[in-house]
């Protein structure tokens, strides 16, 4: 659970004990583990994507279907992230600030999406928004909006899957927030909204971004739920992971790797910027 891990990491970093008893052995093991488990597979994808040369790599990612698939993935992931950051922050704020019955249950429910196979997530959405359901009929009739087998369906699936990220990033920061500051602002006559905007928001902004970006990175690679709800029509609702799957099935590994490299690069940039923001936050 990256979201949770992040929240803890920030705390651990702040008071890192300097244990030197382990020396190089422990460090070596950790670095080797990272290399073998993460760096090596990533390297293989990069090298396989670029194997045939840059011009073929470029042709592969410039293929109209590939471009469209990447665009659908990036657009839906971005929309999801915006909603997730706003609603996730709100949820975290409510969870930390207010007391209400069922709060503990809600707090437990938040992590559920991590445990549900995303394929099941897709099926749940089909059951909920499928054409025979009242909800789908209502949306179709009132708003002429089709959820399933269209982009809204993809965004919904991603929102479900990435639901915990922002909440779990923001929540610990809010808990640690020195309550005297907003209280002081409040007693000095600031409105609730003004207090939130000027005191609380600056404190949780890095966590909001971190949670949002981790969710975004997670959304880029989502396959199981999307393949069920998206309809997978090339140039319309086909996402990059589904396109990659098609290329793998067709035995076109060069094209599959090339598009994977693009997704990886985006994820890498996102991860690096999250890291950079965390550092900036610690030093600033």
């Amino acid at each position: 659970m990256p979201g949770v891990a992040h929240g803890k990491r920030a705390i651990v970093n702040a008071s890192r004990p300097r244990l030197d008893l382990s020396g190089w052995g422990l460090r070596g093991t950790a670095i080797l583990y990272l290399l073998v488990m993460i760096a090596l597979p990533v390297f293989v994808v990069f090298s396989s994507g670029l194997q045939a040369g840059l011009s073929e790599f470029w042709d592969n990612i410039n293929h109209p279907q590939a471009v469209s698939a990447l665009r659908v993935t990036l657009i839906t992931a971005t929309i999801m992230t915006v909603i997730n950051v706003v609603m996730g922050t709100l949820t975290a704020y409510v969870l930390v600030t207010y007391r209400f019955p069922g709060k503990n249950l809600l707090d437990v429910l938040i992590d559920l999406p991590f445990a549900i196979p995303t394929l099941v997530t897709g099926i749940m959405l089909v059951l909920l928004y499928g054409p025979q359901t009242a909800l789908a009929g209502f949306l179709q009739e009132k708003f002429d909006m089709r959820v399933l087998y269209a982009r809204p369906g993809i965004v919904l699936a991603l929102l479900f899957i990435c639901y915990p990220f922002v909440i779990r990033a923001v929540q610990p920061v809010l808990v640690q927030l020195d309550q005297r500051q907003p209280e002081a602002a409040y007693t000095l006559g600031a409105s609730g909204w003004y207090t939130f905007r000027r005191i609380v928001f600056p404190a949780i902004r890095p966590a909001m971004l971190t949670g949002g970006m981790l969710g975004f990175a997670r959304a880029l690679g989502e396959f199981g739920a999307i393949v069920i709800v998206a309809g997978n029509i090339p140039l319309r609702t086909q996402t990059a992971p589904v396109y990659i799957y098609g290329k793998v099935e067709a035995g076109d590994m060069a094209a599959a790797s090339a598009v994977s490299v693009v997704l990886l690069a985006v994820a890498l940039v996102v991860t690096l910027s999250v890291d950079w923001m965390q550092r900036a936050n610690q030093h600033g």
Partner: protein, 355 residues
């Protein structure tokens, strides 16, 4: 756990007893790598073969069965999954194993060209056929939603594209000229009515059974599987369609490595017997004898063919279609791969133009 223990003990005892009985001939293991849809067939055929083989030779055969999408299964075997027998959905997936040097014999050398089951690409509609779908031509009407699997992810889905394309090119669809141009135009019109492209044929059936779409293009055997599962649809046989042929073959390299060539070959042969074909037919697969172009082809005799007469080959269950063509009409799978589904292929252009 408490309940399982007596079972385990019972199993151990049973294996001991049987082990004593067949002491002179040790149990051998055969690994079958198949595509997903005929799973129901093999779960019934395998016990029949085990009984047959025990009776013939006094030897027990155990089966390890693996079911995976045809393309994925073929790649797994090519990549080192040591299956003795493969049952795949289309010839190209067997050709991959020939190219990999794993199948060295002429696997097409029997009366049915190595094809153990056949089916037709058909149209499935809602009960009572409310949208009055009668043939391929209706798929391009405005407001008709079509469900078909994605040819990019499902090799089997390519049958559907070829069926429709061939039907037009052969002059069997009104409103489109009987040539490549007419067939291409039809393809574009049809694909723009496609609502969902599921990754595999079975997924399409599931999508359709959830109430999505007006017409599902699928195989006749999938229609029968859906009916057997309790779904309600009607089937529409187009006037012209493609004959789907599913190959089966012994994988020479692995069968020899495991020393099971004899039983592997016997199993493949057994699949063509009336006894096994009756199971195929029961599950909705057309026995290859129905469409064998070789006049002399008959089913091999094993039990007098009595099961055959009783319904399995009922002409009402497997009605004939006016015009049936095979992949040979398109020049075989190699040609189809580049002509239709390659980067510059007919389908690739049509799906892009349809958006």
């Amino acid at each position: 756990m408490k309940r399982i223990f007596p079972l385990i003990i019972l199993l151990v005892l049973l294996t001991n007893i049987t082990g004593v009985q067949a002491q002179d001939k040790p149990t051998i293991t055969l690994t079958l790598a198949a595509y997903t849809t005929p799973r129901e067939v093999y779960t019934e055929v395998i016990p029949l073969f085990q009984a047959y083989w025990l009776q013939e030779t006094g030897q027990r055969v155990e089966f390890q069965e693996s079911y995976l999408g045809s393309g994925a299964q073929s790649r797994a075997v090519a990549g080192g999954f040591e299956a003795d027998v493969v049952a795949l959905s289309l010839e190209r997936d067997v050709t991959r194993l020939v190219d990999a040097g794993l199948i060295t014999h002429d696997w097409r050398d029997n009366a049915y060209n190595g094809m153990v089951s056949t089916s037709l690409a058909v149209l499935v509609v809602r009960p009572g056929n409310p949208k009055e779908i009668t043939d391929w031509g209706d798929l391009t009407r405005g407001g008709i939603e079509v469900i078909t699997p994605d040819p990019a992810t499902s090799g089997g889905a390519q049958w559907n594209v070829l069926a429709a394309y061939g039907a037009v090119q052969r002059g069997n669809v009104d409103g489109y000229s009987a040539d490549a141009e007419g067939a291409y135009t039809f393809l574009v019109d049809w694909l723009s009515n496609v609502a969902v492209l599921d990754p595999a044929a079975r997924d399409s059936v599931i999508t359709y059974s959830r109430g999505i779409g007006d017409v599902l293009i699928t195989y006749e055997n999938e229609y029968f599987a859906g009916i057997a599962a309790g779904d309600e649809y009607d089937i529409v046989y187009p006037s012209s369609t493609i004959l789907i042929e599913n190959p089966v073959a012994v994988v020479d390299t692995y069968a020899d490595d495991h020393g099971v060539r004899e039983v592997a070959e016997a199993f493949v042969e057994f699949l063509y017997t009336d006894q096994a074909q009756a199971v195929f037919a029961d599950k909705g697969y057309r026995p290859p004898v129905l469409h064998a172009d070789d006049e002399t082809a008959t089913t091999t005799e094993s039990d007098g063919g009595s099961q055959w007469e009783e319904g399995a080959l009922d002409p009402e269950r497997f009605p004939m279609v006016d015009d049936i063509f095979t992949v040979a009409y398109f020049g075989g799978w190699d040609q189809i791969g580049s002509d239709f589904f390659g980067d510059d292929g007919i389908y690739t252009h049509a799906i892009a133009e349809a958006q």
